[in-house]
């Protein structure tokens, strides 16, 4: 097989602050690489075409759909999943707010939702409620009706502003 059509790709990246080297099938999606090869099952595959947001992870600082990105494209990237963001304490206040406000029920959307919320809070320190709703409109939650999530994000934004 020529180099152009090779079906296995060698990649080296950073996942949750740890170096990872792997040989992945060219068609392997990032979400499957994280879940199946690295055992990082926090983010989920659900709609598998970029609509529901359950697979959202952080790649080079951006909130990215793990089902729309190939693992091969993550070569050289810095990837953070809910596991790493939890261990580092980077979104502890957001997680605490989700628990306090019951901004999650079944929890299946939650890891992706938290990455999307964290993304908003780094871009806009004081988002209005309709801005929060707009930003989260790519993350589907069937359980909560969204209001508790909006409340949680709003409370964290206010708390961070107060602390700054």
């Amino acid at each position: 097989m020529t180099d152009v059509f090779r079906d296995k790709i060698d990649i080296a990246l950073s996942v949750n602050g740890e170096p990872v080297e792997a040989r992945v099938p060219a068609g392997r999606h990032l979400i499957d690489f994280l879940r199946l090869d690295l055992g990082l099952t926090g983010a989920h595959a659900s709609c598998e075409h970029g609509v529901c947001g359950a697979c959202t992870v952080r790649v080079d600082g951006d909130a990215v759909r793990g089902c729309l990105m190939l693992a091969a494209q993550a070569d050289g990237a810095e990837v953070w999943t809910i596991e790493g963001l939890s261990d580092s304490g980077a979104i502890r206040d957001l997680q605490d707010a989700f628990v306090a406000r019951n901004a999650l029920q079944c929890g299946f959307c939650t890891p992706g939702m938290l990455v999307a919320c964290a993304d908003l809070l780094t871009r806009d320190a004081v988002p209005a409620r309709d801005e929060i709703r707009e930003h989260l409109s790519g993350n589907y939650c069937r359980c909560t009706g969204y209001e508790a999530i909006v409340d949680a994000v709003e409370s964290v934004a206010k708390a961070r502003r107060g602390a700054a």
Partner: protein, 793 residues
């Protein structure tokens, strides 16, 4: 022993307080354990080949190419599976006349809807199984397709199941009084046709099952995303020919259910059959297209309704003709006749009237089967009832709130039996309406609406009262012959360190079952909730129970937990009394300490009592009972169902140029009896409302005339997202049921029951001055523009 709920300052007063959910902290860290997160040694993956045709004879299946794919181990046809798995027939004896043909786990010679499994490919990886499935060559001989609901019984419509004789699955007519005479003489009769669209649940976690057959042990273990583990245990045992005691169903974290995961799905049973044949763990995870084509659908109804009213607004009669099409099979084991039956039971529900006629006609067609989905039948019955009430009010020139107050059952009239023969133990329609009107500041909202109208902005207010069926007794399924438990049980155990473990037959789907149970057990025994660990969802471990459906978890499972906790408390105090040489009745347990009931003074920690019982039992009086494990069960017996009530309101704006509806705000006042955890109840209601709003504005499964499902993706089947949803104000009235000491009724479905009707009435309130009206859900921009005459082609 009882709990003095009237005293908010009582010791251990956890029931009625917002207490954090014990499982939430790990879910926000991504530490959920859903079925697809599990990997077992020697595990293989199954992918199903599904019928691309709505109706076809299967004339041949060539598996050679599929078997040649690297990683593919086996390919199974319907005939292969039928050797180890018997078909089922989804009927219930109390739904008289309901018929449905035998259904196989994999179609044997005929496929009856697009998506029905026709073969299974098992491989070492899911990717290989998918590659193999694409290469299974099935020969189909197309058969005539029955698609349309209203012509399903016409003489020239093909009969879907020839053995059945016709396409009628079920019909029920209920008549009370003389509707024709009342309609003939009434001051006004208003009639309308309503349509509710075919929906599906769109659980974010697709249906998931992992099954292992351990031949030496003779045990089948299924890790299953389900609402009803014990029901599934029974079903798998029966159809795979195993003793029930040799089937274990384990339900860990479940990524959303809403009724979707309480049914028996052919592919899931086939997965168990394949595990039994192959003797190794087999995993099936539906993909999103499979979710749309094979998760149960619901709510596909067309209804002609009439209401008769007197000049003063008194409601005299309702006349309801409901039709629903349920797809190709009645779904096992709950059947697909329940939804139509609920429409008959629930129409007119909040109102004190006498003459009632309702009929449901349930027909087969070549589409995905429909079955019970959150708030079963309620959104339909409430939309029809409340739509007609608003239309009658408009005809009479009455205010929508006023006509409801004129007709709702008085708060002091209970118990009462409705014209549909539903028995209400105690409801609070008027108190709930009063609270709603105050919460929304109804008069101010009307003033705002009038101001906006002057500026050419069309806003509408919609009100919807409703009743909701919760806490079902065996009258729901058991009397019809289904092995579905209406009873539930709880075992509460005190371990040596004084901590408690409670094992319950109800399950956690995210609604907060674990929190609710921990609060009840904590208060019942007298320890902080954090000292209680909850275990659910394992048929080999927990007491036998029904699981989570029909809003029964708190009302049934909660009462069992309370009684078990109180029994454990009594057992602990008996030991404590012996140790302290006191009377058990003079002692109490508070914050994990045995105390003097009168003074509250600490006498003995539970940890010390545990140490003595478990390690120094020799020091206790010989023969002293020391049973620190107690089990109690609960079943309702006075009423077939514990009805709840509530009322919702929607305020919205209709853009008459684009047809777009913008939801401005939503209110709900609900009476679910005793509230155990206010925050969890509020969030159940909010989530339920949004699910109802989806049905009102967005959700609709489309089929073409050939029975092809046209919008099987989340880009094409629209669900509510954060941007379109309003903030919601929730209020409560509490009328505890007297059937239990706890007094809790269900709260999980009220939001979904009333929201579509509130939105419909609000849209029509906005459109009424323009002479337009919509009654076909979802209320898309196109339908609104057509109603306004803006689109005519």
């Amino acid at each position: 022993m009882t709990i003095p709920f009237g005293n908010p300052n009582r010791p251990n007063s956890y029931i009625g307080k917002t207490v954090p959910r014990p499982n939430a902290a790990r879910l926000v860290e991504g530490r959920g354990r859903y079925v697809d997160d599990m990997i077992l040694p020697r595990m293989v993956h199954v992918v199903y080949v599904r019928s691309p045709m709505a109706h076809a004879r299967i004339t041949g299946i060539d598996t050679a190419e599929a078997l040649a794919v690297k990683g593919v181990l086996r390919v199974f046809t319907g005939a292969d599976i039928a050797k180890v798995c018997t078909p089922w027939v989804a009927v219930l004896a109390h739904l008289k006349g309901l018929k449905s043909p035998p259904e196989h786990a994999i179609a044997v010679d005929r496929a009856c809807w697009v998506g029905e499994p026709v073969a299974a490919v098992v491989a070492t990886t899911r990717a290989a199984a998918e590659d193999g499935a694409a290469l299974v060559d099935v020969d189909y001989d197309p058969l005539p397709v029955t698609g349309d609901m209203m012509t399903a019984l016409d003489a020239d419509t093909p009969v879907l199941h020839a053995d059945m004789g016709d396409n009628l699955a079920f019909r029920r007519l209920h008549e009370e009084g003389d509707v024709d005479a009342v309609m003939a003489s009434a001051h006004k009769v208003v009639s309308a046709r309503f349509k509710t669209a075919r929906h599906t649940g769109v659980t974010l976690e697709p249906r998931s099952i992992l099954v292992d057959w351990n031949a030496p042990e003779g045990q089948l273990t299924a890790w299953h995303a389900t609402q009803a583990p014990h029901m599934m245990q029974t079903v798998l045992a029966e159809h795979l020919g195993l003793p029930e005691g040799r089937v274990r169903v384990i339900c860990g974290d479940v990524g959303g259910s809403y009724g979707i995961k309480v049914h028996v799905y052919p592919d899931e049973v086939a997965t168990a059959a394949i595990a039994k044949i192959m003797g190794r763990p087999v995993k099936f995870i539906a993909d999103r297209l499979e979710s749309f084509t094979t998760d149960i659908h619901a709510r596909d109804h067309e209804i002609a309704g009439r209401i008769a009213v007197a000049e003063d607004g008194e409601i005299l009669a309702f006349d309801i003709d409901d039709w629903t099409a349920i797809g190709a099979y009645s779904v096992y084991p709950r059947t697909s006749a329940i939804e139509g039956n609920q429409v008959v039971n629930l129409c007119g529900g909040p109102y004190d009237f006498k003459d009632y006629r309702a009929q449901t006609t349930v027909v087969f067609q070549n589409k995905t089967p429909t079955c019970q989905y959150r708030a079963v039948g309620h959104p339909i019955a409430v939309a029809v009832t409340e739509g007609l009430v608003d239309m009658a009010a408009a005809e009479l020139g009455m205010d929508p709130v006023a006509i409801r107050r004129r007709n709702m059952y008085a708060d002091d009239c209970y118990p009462v039996t409705s014209p549909a023969k539903m028995r209400f133990e105690g409801l609070s329609h008027h108190a709930s309406m009063d609270k709603l009107v105050a919460l929304m500041d109804y008069d101010a909202l009307r003033a705002d609406q009038a101001e906006a109208r002057k500026k050419g902005i069309h806003r509408g207010i919609g009100i919807a009262s409703f009743i909701e069926l919760t806490n079902p007794s065996p009258f729901m399924y058991g009397i019809g012959g289904a092995r579905i438990s209406a009873q539930d049980g709880c075992t509460v155990r005190m371990d040596p360190d004084g901590s408690l473990v409670a094992l319950s037959g109800v399950t956690e789907q995210g609604q907060g079952t674990e929190a609710m149970l921990s609060q009840i057990v904590a208060e019942g025994v007298g320890v902080p909730p954090a000292q209680v660990r909850i275990i659910t969802g394992d048929t080999q471990v927990t007491p036998y129970g029904g699981g989570t459906w029909a809003s029964r978890g708190a009302g049934i499972g909660g009462e069992a937990a309370l009684q078990a906790a109180l029994a454990l408390k009594a057992a602990i105090l008996e030991v404590a009394a012996a140790m302290l040489q006191a009377q058990a009745g003079a002692l109490d347990i508070r914050d994990g300490q045995v105390v003097d009931a009168d003074t509250g003074q600490d006498r003995l920690s539970l940890a010390e009592l545990g140490r003595i019982v478990y390690f120094r039992g020799d020091t206790l009086p010989k023969g002293l009972p020391r049973e620190l494990v107690q089990t109690r069960h609960f079943i309702t017996s006075e009423y077939p169902f514990a009805f709840t009530n509530g009322v919702q309101a929607s305020y919205l704006e209709v853009d008459t140029d684009t047809g777009i509806v913008t939801l401005l705000k939503h209110w709900c006042v609900e009476d679910c009896g005793r509230i155990i955890n206010p925050q969890l109840v509020d969030e159940q209601i909010r989530g339920g409302i949004v699910q109802g709003l989806g049905g009102a504005l967005f959700e609709e499964i489309h089929y073409d005339a050939e029975g092809q499902l046209l919008n099987g993706s989340m880009a094409d089947y629209l669900v509510p997202m954060a941007g379109e949803m309003p903030d919601m104000i929730i209020g409560h009235v509490e009328t505890p049921t007297l059937e239990s000491a706890l007094g809790a009724k269900g709260a999980g479905e009220a939001g979904t029951a009333g929201a579509p009707a509130a939105v419909m009435n609000a849209i029509n309130d906005a459109l009424r001055p323009l002479g337009a009206q919509v009654t076909e859900m979802p209320f898309t921009p196109e339908r609104i523009l057509r109603a306004l005459g803006r689109i005519e082609d």
